[in-house]
């Protein structure tokens, strides 16, 4: 039982990081019907930027978010304005898939050229520290990472639920043509939403570099996980993405300690398929397709 609880703690902490990455992905899909398959590559790009700031300027990876996130936000807004905005709405879903895939390959290529395929990791002084709470070990880095992700998700929630921009986003998600006719500048909302969506990748990327070793090709594994989280949560639902990510983290961790680490990653996909058979729209699909 002790091991299971320990695994659950680890699973929740890990799931929080994936929740942050996936929330941006599902937000972008909800607002624009764009499946941003470059989200994983942007996480890795952010991990490299954070690693470079730490290695060359001794900037703590958690603080580096303040530098990396605005850069990735600007990149996201630029990509949306230059490549995605001009797509005809009826073809946007398919063509944006190609565009974001090209972006992912481009990022991978540039990172490969600069850093080659060597694995890197952001090794902070507290990387191996842990707290003991009621007899359970809590990794300091994972706790910090979880805290950062929760903070960013709360900010994202407040932005979407409590601000005028958030109201415009929700209106655009629910009825784009009507929002447009009521004076909501959908182009601007979409560009900013895309920027915000990829910024979550920036925050998660800094954390990812501390938790896992990475190289330019690490985004393939990431994006498959992120897409499955978004599908399980219900396309377009940030709340669903958070729930699915936490479930993924816990299921994988519990299977790793109770059965075998070999089956850990596979177990989540078994649960994913089982749930989708019963509820094809995911946790918060269909009725609560929005934020």
């Amino acid at each position: 039982m002790h091991l299971v609880v320990q695994a659950c703690i680890l699973g929740v902490l890990t799931g929080g990081v994936y929740a942050l990455m996936a929330s941006g992905l599902t937000l972008v899909f909800g607002v624009m019907r764009v499946i941003n398959v470059a989200q994983g590559a942007l996480v890795i790009l952010s991990a490299y930027l954070s690693w470079a700031l730490f290695t060359h300027f001794q900037v703590d990876p958690f603080l580096s978010v303040l530098i990396v996130a605005p850069l990735i936000f600007a990149l996201g807004v630029g990509v949306q304005l230059v490549f995605i905005r001009s797509l005809r709405s009826e073809q946007a879903e398919e063509l944006s898939l190609l565009i974001t895939w090209a972006l992912a390959l481009g990022i991978e290529g540039v990172l490969g050229a600069v850093y080659e395929t060597t694995y890197r990791a952001t090794n902070t002084s507290y990387a191996n520290s842990a707290w003991t709470i009621f007899g359970y070990q809590v990794s300091v880095v994972r706790a910090y990472a979880f805290g950062l992700c929760v903070a960013v998700l709360v900010l994202l929630y407040l932005l979407l639920a409590r601000t005028r921009f958030g109201r415009s986003v929700r209106a655009t998600v629910q009825n784009p043509s009507s929002a447009l006719l009521l004076g909501v500048n959908a182009d601007r909302v979409r560009a900013l939403a895309f920027g915000i969506g990829v910024s979550t990748a920036a925050a998660a990327g800094a954390v990812y570099g501390v938790l896992y070793p990475f190289n330019p090709g690490s985004h393939y594994d990431l994006i498959s996980r992120l897409l499955s989280i978004v599908v399980l949560g219900g396309l377009g639902s940030v709340a669903g993405a958070v729930a699915a990510a936490l479930m993924m983290g816990v299921v994988e961790a519990v299977v790793a300690v109770e059965i075998s680490p070999v089956w850990s990653s596979f177990s989540y996909f078994v649960v994913l398929v089982a749930i989708l058979l019963l509820r094809p729209q995911g946790f918060f699909g269909a009725r609560e397709r929005t934020l």
Partner: protein, 245 residues
Amino acid sequence: MSSAALLTAEGLTKRFGGVVAVEDCTFSVPTGTITALVGPNGSGKTTVFNLLTGYLRADAGTVAFAGRRIRRPDPIRLYRAGLTRTFQQARIFPDLTLVENLVVAIQQPWRTIVCRAIGRDDRSRAFELLEEFGLVQLAEARAGSLSYGQKKLLEFATVLMAEPQLVLLDEPTAGVNPVMVAAIETRIRELNARGLTFLVVEHNMNLVMRLCDPVIVLDHGTKLAEGRPADVRNDARVLDAYLGA
């Protein structure tokens, strides 16, 4: 009736492939009137609405609003200039509350985007409108939970938030129960008495005849007749083409 035209359409033409939806359509909406745009199904009424509001691009023709020619009608610019519309199927935001639905329609300076979602003045204005439309008790309910007629009223109230000069109503009473029809008619009359101009597409001819003046009749995308309700009702071409008499 004031003779000054608030909205003028000249030679509007729209084709979809080989199908001519609207052809050389010219009419005006005098300031302060409730003007009707009627015609049989497929006569091009909604297409005209879409052309006037910039939802479709005309192949030919011009639109002028409030004395200014609109070169390329654009929904956002027209909305800000005071021209707005409703749809046949009420287009609301189902997961927003009624109050949130209304305040979406308020123009917000870009620098205020991270301000509180609903300011005190906006909330107050929204509640006033909901009170007028008999929806105030549902102000914090999700709009998706409303009946069809209530959604129509909500959409109507929403487009009034920005205090427009001209409202285009696309079949405001379609699919609505008689009680709600009376409520909508009353609202239109009251708002018109306060100076708001309407252009109404409507199939309920009894309502059109008692509410609207002038009446414009379309058939096969072209204007067939225009005038006072009694004159239009007795026009042989209208009786022949529209009423099938």
